[in-house]
Structure formats: C-alpha cells, structure tokens
C-alpha cells in the first residue's frame, strides 16, 4: 500500500512536470461504484473507487505515446465465497478441506493498464507496449477474442491492456493486414495473431488465425508449489472469421471461430446478431452465442465449469444463449433499457433493467438491477443473487 502511494506520488510529480511543459495531455476519470446482492439470507455490499489517469503525447508527427494508470480501492465485502452461489450438487464435488480456497478476493490495486508508443508511417502503424486488443464484431461475446472476456451485463466496459507488438499494414483504403505478437516466457507460449480485414459492398469482414496458450485451471486439484489451483496450460489454435453489415435495413453481424486444442476436445464458437433503431428512437438488439465447450443442460455442469466462468477463463458455462437489449431515450439525458440474457441450454434467464443518466457535462451515472430467474443449478439461478449496481463517473 505504501509502495503504491509512493508510486502514485512519483507519477503525479513526473506528470505535473511534463504537463507544465505542455508535452503531455492529461485526462481520465474518477469512478465510484456500489454493488449489492442478496445471497442466502444476507445482503453483500462492495464499494469501489477507481482513478484512471490517462496520458497522451504526440512526440512527433509520426510517434504517439499513450498510457493510463489505474488506482482502485475496494471497501465492504472484499472476499466473496464462491461456494455461496453454487448448488448442493456442485458443492459435493469440492474436495474435502479445500473449501477456503474458493474465494474471490477484491484487493486494492495500482497498475499501469496501457502504456505504448505508436509509430505511424505511410505504409504501416507499429504499436509496441501494453495496449487494447479488440477483436470481432460481437457485442457481448467475441469468439475471435482470445485475450478478453466481456462482462455479460456491462459489455462495453473497458478491457485490460495486453503486452504486445502490433503491426497494421493498410492495403489500399479498404483492407488492413494485422500481425500481433504478445510475448510470454518462451516463443512457443507467446501469442501470435494474423488478421486480414476488408470491405465488400456494405459488409466488413475479417479472417483471423491465432495461436495462444490457454491457461485453464483444474479447480479440484491444488498445486502446493504455486499455492494455487493446478494450472493446465494448453496450446490453442484458432481460425476465425467475422462480418458486419446491413440486411433489409437492419444491422447484422456474425463471428465464428474454430479452436484446435492440444490435449482436450476441439470446439467452436459462433455469434450472430442483429439490431435496429425505430423511428421513435427505441433501439433493439439481439445476439445469439453458441459455445460447444459449454454444456447442454445444467445437470452436466461441474465445479470446474463454474470456476472457469467465475475466473473468466471461459466465456460461458452453457452451450447456447441469447442476449436481448432494448433501450429508449426517455429524455435528452436519460436512457432506460432492459438487458435480458437467456440460456437456451438450461432454460434460465436474467433480467437487467439499466439506466444511463448524463448528470452533467462530464458526469455520467449508470445503474442496473440484476434479477436472476432460473431454477437452482442453472446459469441464472436465483442462487446467483439478485441485486444491483450504481456507478458514477466523473471525467476530467
């Protein structure tokens, strides 16, 4: 904690000095968030405060430097026992004596999220450092994105930066070839990606090939050396394609990825989606996602399936799901909407009413309720807890 504060102080000092010389643009936001959920006979509350400090500097006409530093504090219930949310069938799979390890910890964090420089020449852009990697056309799920998993009820929230070297080569005005290398401890374990993006008529499309080690864990075995659950790293090779465009006046998109695994079963993921804005300003979106790694019924779910979803190692636990979003601007400053996520495989459903309010020029307020309507053991069972979130964000 003391170290973090020292680092923060040092950072402010350096930034202040650079800003005084007008070399660096400084901006960011402060975010205060409350999250509450009813679990069993109790009501858990977690508060967080986040300060995001962005720096951006055009060092020359061709070189840009950008970074952001995040400082997050948590208050309230900082340790969540995952077992509180699971059904008795799943709890029976927990090895005796290992119960205390199934905990999600929310510890204060200070970290450099993104920090990169970009060299932009006539024929290419080269980006080196921790950077955002956004792949695919899906809104909630992205089969092609092996780097990030979006938050189901808050899919547009920013993703963490990834250390990588990225080369984007435009070919004409409609095509781009991207090559990306995200280093790990060895060349073999490092992620490699190549993508072609283009445009045909009113449709964008992309073709992608990725090789990356997937760091699954076995949550029924413990690695005493690492003092963590046993890691089962496995090479994953992916070929994918995506498209986005318009059909009969409606927005349409699709994304597909086939995954070849070294030791476990191969699988594929598919997303198809559509959206439309009515003349009376109501916006509607529908997205379907299939993940053949998921199970077809809740009776097949295992402790490992649940833990991999909680630990954001796997996108979903069930095979087929649908996301529906309806939003309407009730005033110039307030948007009201409802997100509804339905697991076709186990028949459960979550309803998430959402409100976005532009409180002032640079203050946004977002709130949602999370209502799980499924039966015990299903993805959206009421065991998951019903609650809500309130977030205020102040930009500077």
């Amino acid at each position: 904690m003391k170290k973090s504060l020292q680092l923060l102080f040092l950072l402010f000092l350096v930034i202040g000095s650079l800003a005084a010389q007008e070399k660096v643009e400084i901006f960011g936001y402060f975010e205060s968030q409350y999250m509450g959920t009813g679990v069993k006979n109790d009501y858990y509350q977690l508060f967080s405060n986040k300060l995001r400090l962005d720096l951006k500097s055009d060092l020359t006409e061709k070189i840009t430097f950008a970074a952001n530093f995040d400082y997050i504090t948590y208050h309230g219930k900082k340790e969540w026992d995952i077992l509180d949310f699971l059904s008795p069938d799943i709890l029976a799979q927990v090895p005796p004596g290992m119960e205390p390890f199934y905990v999600l910890n929310f510890s204060n964090r200070t970290f450099l999220d993104n920090a990169y420089f970009r060299l932009s020449l006539k024929h290419f852009d080269l980006t080196v450092g921790k950077q955002q990697i956004s792949l695919g056309t899906g809104y909630v799920w992205n089969p092609m994105d092996v780097f990030n998993i979006k938050e189901l009820v808050d899919p547009t929230y920013e993703q963490p930066g990834h250390n990588a070297v990225r080369l984007d080569v435009p070919v004409g005005n409609a095509y781009t070839i991207t090559a990306l290398y995200s280093p790990d401890d060895t060349w073999k374990n490092s992620a490699k990606l190549i993508q072609l993006k283009g445009r045909i008529s009113h449709f964008d499309y992309s073709l992608i090939a990725i090789e990356k080690v997937w760091r699954f864990h076995d949550y029924t075995q413990f690695d005493l050396e690492k003092m963590n659950f046993l890691e089962l790293p496995e090479q994953r090779r992916l070929l994918g394609a995506s498209t986005a465009g318009e059909l009969f006046g409606m927005g349409v998109w699709a994304e597909f990825a086939y995954n070849w695994m070294d030791s476990t079963d191969d699988f594929y993921e598919l997303v198809v989606g559509t959206d439309y804005t009515f003349d009376f300003q109501t916006y509607i979106m529908l997205e379907y996602y299939r993940n053949t790694l998921g199970k077809t019924d809740y009776e097949q779910y295992t402790l490992n399936d649940w833990m991999r979803v909680f630990a954001a190692e796997q996108k979903t636990i069930s095979k087929d799901q649908v996301y529906i979003f309806v939003q309407h601007p009730v005033t110039d400053l307030i948007n009201l909407g409802v997100q509804s996520i339905f697991s076709i495989s186990d028949g459960s459903m979550a309803l998430v009413p959402v409100m976005n309010y532009s409180f002032s020029e640079n203050i946004d307020i977002m709130a949602y309720l999370n209502i799980n309507l499924g039966k015990e053991g299903s993805v959206f069972s009421s065991n998951m807890g019903n609650g809500g979130m309130l977030r205020a964000r102040i930009y500077f």
Partner: protein, 253 residues
Amino acid sequence: MKKLLASGLMVLLLVPAAFSQELTADEIIQKVNDQFNTETSYGKSKMTIVTTSGQKRTFVQESWSKDRGEKNLVRYLEPRRVKDQAVLMLNHADDIWMFFPRTQRVRKLASHAKKQKMQGSDFSYEDMGSGDAFIDDFTSKRLEDEQKEGQDCYKLELIRKQESSSSYSRLIMWIIKENFLPVVIEYYDDNDPAYLLKTMVASDFRVIDGIPTSMKVVMFNQNDNTQTEMELLEVKYNITLTDDLFTERSLKK
C-alpha cells in the same frame, strides 16, 4: 446619377429574380445540394443542447468532408467524456463506423443508426448527413415563394420517396433566393405528414472561401420541447484532403 444607379441596382436585383421564376423545384434543390456539397471541407463546430429542464450540454467537434459529401469524418474534441470518439461515414452515410478510444474498438453501424440522436441532441445523424439526401430520398414540389426570417425565399415541399428509408414523411424548406441556402426546414413525422416534429432555423450567413455559409443553425424539437444550437467556429472549403483520412486507420488517430 443617383437615380441611374438606383435603377441599375434594381435591374441587377430583378434579373436573378426574373430568372428565378423559371427555376423548377428540382433545379432549386439541385442548387441547394451543390451549395452543401463542396468538393472538400473542414469545420470546427460547437453544439449546445438545451434540454426541457433548461440544462445545457456542449460538444465541440471537428469534421472533414470529401467528394461532395460522399466521405465524412467527425471527431469529438470536448467534453472529456467523449473526447477522441469519432464517426466515419462513407457512401453518403450508408456506411458508418464509430470509434471508442478507451477500448480502441471500431463498431460498424447499420444505416438505421442515422435515426439516433447525435450525442442526445435534436440532430440525428440523418440530419447531419450529406445534402444528397434531399434529392435521393425526396421528390420536391415548388410552393408559392415567401418571406421567411426576413429573407426572400423559395418554398419547397419535399415528399419522401416510396423506396426511401428517411425518418421524415416530408419536409418544408424555405431557401434564400440570393444564395440557395435553406433558412428554415420543417421536418414532419414519419407516419403523420401533418405532424411537425422539428424546425431548423439557420442564421449568420457569411461567404467563406467564396461559398455562402450559415454559421449558426438551431434545431427546435417541437415534440420534446428542446433545442440544439450548432455554431461553426471555423470552416474551410476546397482544401486538399487525401482518401487516407477517410479510413478505419485514420478513425483511430
């Protein structure tokens, strides 16, 4: 001498007026289209939204346009909340991409997104699109000339074509005879051609780089009782812009 000058001036003023009598609705709307769609342009503008409760929201944006409005790029400068967000519109806004800087994500939007309010304002993306929409989406009919906002105007009724996806069933437009700039446009409901939704009023007419320009436009939303003012802070026409500017690569910069 004074009399001669006065009558000479009268002749000069009357000649275009006499010619104007000959102009058809199609010819007038074509001239309006030509005024809007210069070969290239750059603008920096301030948009102020006044809500029903009287609160204000101000946005500052830069925009570039090429090939007579076929290609458009808009980048937000203020407020901080939306800084560096950008919108690329190609093929007269039939293809739209939006860039979100914090996630570095580019999202392709379908043309229905044109109906959405731009940053919650009373302008939709459709209202901000290229002037070709007046020709492509509507058939025009000339009504009796009128004075509007102190200007001698042509009055046109634009009725939506059957194949058009415009969100307005018809427009009534008053066009200044002197420079072919619309001074007032009334927008009527999608389903009810008698129901007035919004009224746009232009003012502060100046000639920039030889091109008549309205520096201020206010959109009054009769339906929501709100208004949005768009003020041009800077404008340049027929500047050199390369096609590279209107690409996804440029959107991210």
